[in-house]
Structure formats: structure tokens, C-alpha cells
């Protein structure tokens, strides 16, 4: 193997085996063939990356960015929506509570009113029933009075006839006649018991 002769100040020193300039050249001297291959390889790869690889990656990154941002936006929108819905529900709940309270108050008032009405109605009804009873009583009384009046008249005529027929001589007879009349009257009363209250009315009228 040839050694590099550093002191000679030349770029290369011939090796014993005739390795040529490039074998013994300083390693800092670029080999033209390698330089050209390096430049071409570099250029090809650069063009490929610039035209295809990097655009593909950038497109993907941009899409990812959009997706992430879209996701965040969507989440924010959903949160806002949820908040709005919550507010709405709360408002609705409050409304419903108010309404329920109103309905309760109203029902209470209505119940009171109905009760009042019923009471009034019942009072009116009872008054009407009492009035009708009184009216019936009055009618019955009138009827009895009328009946009695007729009977008393007949009895009076009979009594008068008897009185006249027995010549009314002595007090004993006279009193006997009167007693008989009264007895008859009592018997009539007993017989008229079947007519109910009319008899008592008749009695009371005596």
C-alpha cells in the first residue's frame, strides 16, 4: 500500500503498485464521477420529494389540521347548544311551576265558589221546601176549615131540630140535649181520626 507523502506538497504520490492518481489522491479532492453521481442523485430525490412526497404529506397535515379544528368547533357548537337547551329547560320549568301555582290558586278559588254556590243553592232549596210545606199546610187547613164549616152547619141544623123537637121543657132535658150533642160531637171526632190532622185542626178550631 502506498502512503501519502505529506511533506512533498503534491496532491498524490505514486504507490508502488501503480494505483493511479485517484488511489493516492488526498481524500479531500473530490472524485468527479462521484461528485456528478452525488449531484444527480440529490437532484432526482429532491425533485421527487418536491413534486410528490412533500405535497402528499402537507396535504395530509392540512387535512388533519382541518379535522382537528372542525372537531373543536363542533364541540364548541355542541356545548353552546347544550347550554342554550339547559337555559330553555330551566325557563320552561319555571314557567311550568308558575302555571301550576296559578292553576292551583284558581282551582282553590273555583272550589270555594262552587261550595258557596252549592250552599246558596241548598239554602234556597230548603227555603223552597219549607215554603211548599207551609203552603200545603195552609191548603189542608183551609180544606179542613171548609169541611168543618159544612159539617158544623149540618150539625147545628140537626141540633136546632132536636132542640125544637123535644120542646125544651126542663133544664134536665135541656142539659141532656146539650150533652148528647157534645157526645155526638166527640164521637164524630173519634170517627174523624182517620182523616188525620184535619180532625185536630177541627178540634183546635173549637
Amino acid at each position: 500500500m502506498g502512503a501519502i507523502d505529506n511533506t512533498a506538497g503534491v496532491l498524490a504520490v505514486e504507490g508502488g503498485g501503480g494505483g493511479g492518481f485517484w488511489e493516492d489522491a488526498y481524500p479531500v479532492i473530490p472524485h468527479p464521477g462521484e461528485l456528478i453521481v452525488g449531484i444527480i442523485s440529490f437532484a432526482i430525490l429532491y425533485v421527487l420529494y418536491k413534486r410528490v412526497v412533500v405535497p402528499r404529506l402537507e396535504t395530509m397535515l392540512a387535512e388533519r389540521q382541518r379535522t382537528i379544528e372542525g372537531g373543536i368547533e363542533r364541540a364548541e357548537a355542541m356545548q353552546a347548544e347544550a347550554k342554550a337547551a339547559l337555559e330553555q329547560y330551566r325557563a320552561q320549568l319555571a314557567d311550568a311551576r308558575n302555571e301550576a301555582a296559578q292553576i292551583r290558586d284558581q282551582a282553590r278559588a273555583e272550589g270555594q265558589q262552587i261550595l258557596e254556590e252549592l250552599r246558596t243553592q241548598a239554602q234556597a232549596e230548603s227555603a223552597r221546601i219549607v215554603a211548599r210545606g207551609e203552603e200545603q199546610l195552609a191548603t189542608a187547613r183551609q180544606q179542613v176549615v171548609n169541611e168543618l164549616r159544612g159539617q158544623i152547619g149540618t150539625l147545628a141544623v140537626q141540633l136546632a131540630g132536636q132542640v125544637v123537637g123535644e120542646s125544651l121543657a126542663d133544664d134536665a132535658r135541656r142539659s141532656g140535649t146539650v150533652d148528647r150533642f157534645l157526645d155526638e160531637l166527640d164521637g164524630m171526632t173519634a170517627a174523624g181520626d182517620g182523616a188525620g190532622g184535619a180532625t185536630r185542626v177541627g178540634g183546635s178550631s173549637r
Binding site: M1, G2, A3, I4, G15, G16, G17, G18, G19, G20, F21, W22, E23, D24, A25, Y26, P27, V28, I29, P30, H31, P32, G33, E34, L35, V37, G38, I39, S41, F42, A43, I44, L45, Y46, L48, Y49, K50, V52, V53, V54, R56, L57, E58, T59, M60, E63, R64, T67
Partner: protein, 260 residues
């Protein structure tokens, strides 16, 4: 490599010529091992990235989740945070290309059967650095015009006699230092890392085969170190890819910074 005769007896440490591995032909346009690796890595990345982004869902699957991890690191942690959310979008393809290409090529340094880091051949990091160079220069001139771009190199409020000095320094920084350091950092790390691995592997092999007596046992720690540093190289592979796009972003961000 070509001289096996003299290497029979004494140990020859790995050196720069080990990195010259032509497969077809010889000379300036020979097809080398690293070229094949680079082409295969590019094709592999193209296929994987096309397939991985064919059906992207808003909800990622396992594969998409990993892809998005890489994409998010490049796009958000580096691109957006360094360049600023107003201007970073046009530079995502550039940063993603740089990151994936460097990372996979670096990992090839320890993945069998390749086990040879592409970026240890300076042509490849130079190609990538030139890409960054063109992008930030074009962006700068487009934004401010050529005169504005040159004026913007010098921060305001300096004494007049300092201005030319600072101008030259800044111009050299913009036109030379940045692309060169970008190239050398990546190249150097991968080159040195591979030399170190070679040293442990070849040294261990030499001790095992040519060592006398107990010296053969020293091969064991050498091989252990080889595994340890292989694991370490994974970290370096990722770190260098990350640092490359971080610096590229810083250079691009300066185009949009209004104050120096």
C-alpha cells in the same frame, strides 16, 4: 490493497487509499463502490417514500407514524423553528432530501454487507453542500437583489473604516467558508469514523493472525471496540445528518433575517 506482498509481515494501518474502491474502470470517471451505494440508497429512498406516502390517513398507522416522526423532525424542529414559520415551507423538500439521503448513506457505513460510508468520499458531501450553497445564495439575491444582498452582508452602525474589512470577511464566509465547512464536517466525520472502525477490525485481525502467544488475546478488546464504535457510528450518522440540515437552515434563515 494492491500491494499485498509487503503487507505480509508488518501491520499496515488503514489510510486514505483504502477509500478508493473502483468497481468498473479507473480514473476520474470510474464507477466506484460509493457511487453504487449512493445510487442504491437514492432508489431505495425514492421507492420507500413513494410507497409510504401513497395512502396517508388523518389518523396515522404505525408506518405513517414513523414517517411522520422523521418528517416532523425535519419540518418542525429544524425547518420551522430555525427558518421561521413564514418562510420555511419552500425549503422542506430540500431539508428532507438532505436529511434522509445523509442519514441512510451514513448508516450504510455500518450496515452489512455495504459497511462503507458514502459520505467518506468527499464528492458526495460536496454535492449536497453545493445544493445548499446554490439555494441560499439564490434565495438571498432574489429577496434583496444583488446589491441589497451584498449590502446586507455588512451589519449597520459600523465605523466606516471597518466596513470593507467586514465586507470581505462576510463575503468569504458566504461564498467559501460555509460550503467548505459544510462539506468537510460531514466528510471528516464519516471518513474518520470509518478509519477508526477499520483500525479496530484490521488491527484485531492482525493481532489474531500474526500476533505471538498472548498477544493474540489482545484481539478480543480490539474486536469489542469495533462493535462499540459501530454502535457509536449510528449516533454519529444521525447527528451529522441533523447538523447538516440544521446549518443549512441557519444559512437559509439568514436570508430572511432583517437585522444581522
Amino acid at each position: 490493497m494492491t500491494i499485498v506482498v509487503s503487507a505480509a509481515e508488518e501491520f499496515v494501518p488503514p489510510s486514505a487509499p483504502d477509500f478508493w474502491q473502483p468497481l468498473v474502470g479507473d480514473g476520474a470517471f470510474a464507477i466506484t463502490r460509493t457511487m453504487v451505494v449512493m445510487v442504491l440508497v437514492t432508489i431505495g429512498l425514492a421507492v420507500v417514500m413513494m410507497l409510504a406516502t401513497r395512502r396517508l390517513g388523518v389518523v396515522p398507522g404505525r408506518g405513517q407514524f414513523r414517517l411522520e416522526g422523521v418528517y416532523g423532525l425535519v419540518r418542525n424542529s429544524v425547518g420551522r423553528d430555525v427558518i421561521g414559520s413564514a418562510h420555511f415551507k419552500p425549503y422542506i423538500p430540500l431539508l428532507l432530501t438532505l436529511f434522509t439521503l445523509i442519514l441512510v448513506n451514513n448508516l450504510m457505513g455500518i450496515v452489512p454487507p455495504v459497511q462503507f460510508p458514502t459520505m467518506s468520499r468527499i464528492g458526495f458531501p460536496l454535492a449536497l453542500a453545493l445544493g445548499v450553497y446554490v439555494v441560499y445564495l439564490v434565495a438571498g439575491v432574489r429577496r434583496r437583489g444583488l446589491v441589497g444582498f451584498l449590502k446586507n452582508l455588512v451589519p449597520g452602525g459600523l465605523p466606516f473604516w471597518v466596513v470593507p474589512v467586514v465586507f470581505v470577511l462576510e463575503l468569504v464566509t458566504f461564498l467559501v467558508t460555509r460550503p467548505v465547512t459544510l462539506t468537510l464536517r460531514l466528510f471528516g466525520n464519516m471518513f474518520a469514523g470509518h478509519i477508526l472502525l477499520l483500525l479496530f477490525a484490521l488491527g484485531g485481525e492482525y493481532l489474531l493472525l500474526s500476533g505471538e502467544g498472548l498477544l493474540k488475546l489482545v484481539a478480543i478488546p480490539a474486536f469489542l471496540m469495533f462493535f462499540l464504535f459501530s454502535a457509536f457510528e449510528i449516533l454519529i450518522a444521525f447527528l451529522q445528518a441533523y447538523v447538516f440540515i440544521l446549518l443549512a437552515s441557519v444559512y437559509i434563515a439568514e436570508v430572511y433575517a432583517d437585522e444581522h
